[in-house]
């Protein structure tokens, strides 16, 4: 064994959750290797468009047709634009097989998708963890909200989350920085909903932005969010959380972290003598050179699908079907979020009010269906975004030409149009055994690793949920007096929500799950999985905050176990 390749911990994947695990391990003095299959994106230096003005982009933010045609998967993502396409994986660079249509949006670099994420950070509640057991789908979560709550708090304090203490039990309050103010229409709608509905709430979305930096943020070199809303380019002020400007440099500063980009993990090495994982096999993304690194504990945070795939590819005499796969469920029970339904309307009023400035977040309607009891003909429920705006009216008149056209555009300042509102559904989907990630028997990628096959789809439950969302929000909008209400099913393909989860699910019973309550493989307890792969169910909240809380909790557990020599 190359002693230079021996660490106490290896973390696979330098994205949202892996970087948080690395930060926690390094803080506790654990010598850690952080592996990333993509390039190193350094905070500030590698945000080439961060301060470019809109008019400085050749295509004004749009992607060329040839690029969109060559990358229909990446181009399907709302955030894939001229100003940040360099953070997305091009379709043909890392191919996979869609047994059913699946738009897998990826960002292979240090920081992963934390550079381009939507930054919404609502906590899960007790109702979410109780859900599978109460409603008889998936398996019971091996933990409850109280197990994760302190770790939510720790992550929130470090990351910086703005929000109001709303006292809503479906999205518990946390360690919040001051929230920005809402619009007059948001407040109006919130009051209408409060008046007409029991247990429905319209709150302001908690988000990973620093509205007022605390010492911990200043220590990270991060400052106040300036509401530029150019977040997906990378923020030169560190105003929003990404791993590049926060957890990774923090971990590096401890002196305990080695960061190795361009490291494609082939598999995890299992030592039959010790019954533990002993290291990882890595292929250099550029030179194709194979290397092995060794550690006492391994954190797998490659992203839900890749984490499941790495375990499936980690075959040994003891685990012929993949590391930890005694149950045969590895790669199964995948799920995602249903973002297909939207609604919009016009507000007939508040014409004496307007918005000044911009906001990096918006309204949020926590789940209200089937929370306290089963009340519909579908399982579970949905949360929803809720946005309000008053935009400038579009000009010019289609008939104008020449001086008339010029006058129409430049003869006056653009006029305010009416207030408009919009909402999008964020529905829970049910994990099913037939929703899977698996490895192809024959085809391999350029590093010799089997291609990943993905299959998941909507079902009747999702269709009913869309219908209910449209009905309920139409009702709420009508009660608010909104007009010109339009509902839409955008037909989004699974994966486009960028919230794929499961495949290495947690549970109490090794026969029906892969991970235990500490995110350890039941059958190989020095391997922890704390990204989206660990999720037993999906609930409705944007999941990144929960992944980081899991990573923090599991990392601290691993440190305890290492100190006791129990793993």
């Amino acid at each position: 064994m190359n002693k230079d390749h021996k660490y106490e911990a290896i973390v696979i994947g330098a994205g949202m959750s892996g970087s948080y695990a690395a930060k926690e391990l390094c803080d506790k003095g654990i010598k850690t290797l952080l592996l990333e299959r993509g390039r190193d994106v350094r905070h500030l230096q590698d945000y080439p468009t961060a301060v470019k003005q809109p008019w400085e982009f050749d295509l004004r933010g749009n992607m060329p047709l040839a690029d969109r045609e060559a990358n229909p998967i990446a181009a399907s993502c709302y955030a894939y634009r001229e100003d940040n396409e360099h953070f997305f994986i091009k379709d043909d660079h890392h191919p996979y097989i869609q047994d059913k249509p699946f738009q897998w949006i990826r960002g292979y670099q240090t920081g992963g998708k934390s550079i381009m994420w939507a930054r919404q950070t609502q906590r899960w509640s007790e109702y979410d963890f109780q859900g599978p057991a109460r409603d008889g789908y998936a398996v019971d979560w091996p933990i409850r909200y109280a197990d994760l709550a302190p770790w939510y708090s720790e992550v929130e304090r470090f990351v910086g989350i703005t929000g109001n203490r709303d006292g809503v039990d479906t999205v518990p309050d946390g360690e919040f920085l001051p929230a920005w103010g809402a619009t007059v229409v948001h407040d109006y709608f919130a009051n209408v909903v409060k008046k007409h509905y029991k247990n429905r709430h319209v709150i302001f979305g908690r988000c990973a932005h620093i509205s007022k930096p605390n010492d911990i943020h200043i220590q990270q070199g991060r400052g106040q969010c300036l509401n530029r809303t150019e977040c997906e380019r990378g923020c030169p002020f560190g105003g929003y959380f990404n791993a590049n400007g926060s957890t990774i440099p923090w971990a590096l500063k401890t002196g305990n972290l080695d960061l190795r980009p361009f490291s494609v993990v082939h598999s995890i090495i299992y030592d039959k003598e010790t019954g533990k994982a002993s290291g990882v096999r890595v292929i250099d993304a550029n030179t194709m050179e194979a290397t092995e690194y060794f550690a006492d504990v391994i954190f797998l945070n490659a992203g839900a699908i890749n984490s499941a795939a790495i375990l499936l590819n980690s075959k040994s005499y003891r685990f012929p079907d993949g590391l930890g796969n005694d149950s045969g469920l590895l790669g199964k029970y995948m799920a995602f979020h249903n973002y297909r339904a939207t609604i919009s309307a016009t507000v007939d009023g508040f014409k004496d009010k307007k918005m000044i400035g911009r906001l990096p977040t918006g309204g949020y309607v926590p789940r209200f269906r089937n929370v306290y009891r089963q009340e519909t003909d579908f399982l579970r429920g949905y949360a929803a975004g809720f946005d309000t705006r008053r935009s400038l009216r579009a000009f010019p008149d289609a008939e104008c030409w020449g001086e008339d056209l010029r006058e129409n555009i430049l003869g006056h300042k653009p006029e305010l149009g009416p207030w408009t509102v919009g909402s999008h559904m964020m529905g829970e989907t049910i994990p099913k055994e037939e929703s899977y990630v698996k490895l192809d028997d024959k085809q391999v990628d350029k590093w010799g690793i089997p291609l990943i096959r993905i299959s998941m789809d909507y079902d009747d439950n999702d269709e009913k949920m869309i219908k209910d969302y449209h009905e309920q929000f139409t009702d709420m909008f009508e009660k608010a007096g909104f007009v010109d209400i339009k509902t839409n099913d955008n037909g989004r393909i699974p994966g486009n929500d960028i919230h794929e989860m499961g495949g290495v699910r947690m549970g109490r019973d090794p026969k029906t799950s892969v991970l235990n309550k500490w995110n350890q493989l039941h059958a190989c307890d020095n391997v922890y999985v704390t990204d989206g792969a660990c999720m037993t169910s999906t609930s409705t909240q944007n999941p990144s905050l929960t992944y980081m809380a899991f990573a923090a909790r599991a990392a601290n557990h691993a440190v305890e176990m290492l100190k006791k020599s129990e793993i």
């Binding site: 103010g181 530029r228 014409k351 004496d352 918005m355 010019p396 030409w401 020449g402 555009i409």
Partner: protein, 173 residues
């Protein structure tokens, strides 16, 4: 006076001030500048396209903070349109040149109002959308986009600032 008479009068007035045969520019066919889905205009055609854009949306006096429209239009056409659309644009451009030539107009020296009157007449006849009409609408549309996405318009008219003022969702109009 009807539209046709107006155009005729404008044309006569414009022609009367010019020596047509001596000053008309010689242009290659635009289609010769099309290659494999890309239109690479020579300087003469760029100037011509700038003139057309300025005819549809006169901005020549506002050069600061607005990109020259021909550069923007051709870049958008080449990058954002399918090869067959680029070809149609080139064909439309050539048809536009022919239209002006038929009216004995020199784009560099004639009163732009004359060219505009011809274009408006063309649109008023409500013909099927052919390459010529498509060209006209495309140039107009991209000219507007070029203006509205310019530094000049965004800062002077939309009050855009990369760092906006503090948010107020309840500000008086």
């Amino acid at each position: 006076m009807d539209r046709r008479s107006a155009i005729r009068n404008l044309t006569v007035a414009a022609a009367g001030t010019l020596l047509w045969a001596g000053c008309r520019e010689q242009y290659v066919n635009v289609l010769s500048l099309y290659n494999s889905g890309s239109l690479n205009l020579d300087q003469k055609h760029k100037t011509y396209l700038n003139q057309i854009s300025d005819t549809f949306l006169p901005l020549r006096d506002l050069a600061d903070g607005i990109e020259r429209p021909a550069d923007f239009i051709i870049r958008m056409i080449n990058k954002m349109q399918a090869p067959e659309q680029v070809l149609k644009f080139a064909q439309g451009f050539e048809a536009y040149k022919e239209l002006m030539k038929g009216a004995q107009l020199d784009i560099n020296t004639s009163d732009p109002r004359v060219a505009l009157a011809i274009v408006k007449e063309l649109i008023a006849e409500n013909p099927p959308l052919d390459n010529l009409l498509g060209f006209v609408h495309t140039v107009r549309g991209y000219s507007i986009w070029n203006l509205k996405s310019s530094e000049h318009y965004m800062t002077q008219y939309q009050e855009y600032a990369m760092v906006p003022p503090p948010f107020n969702g309840n500000a008086p109009v």
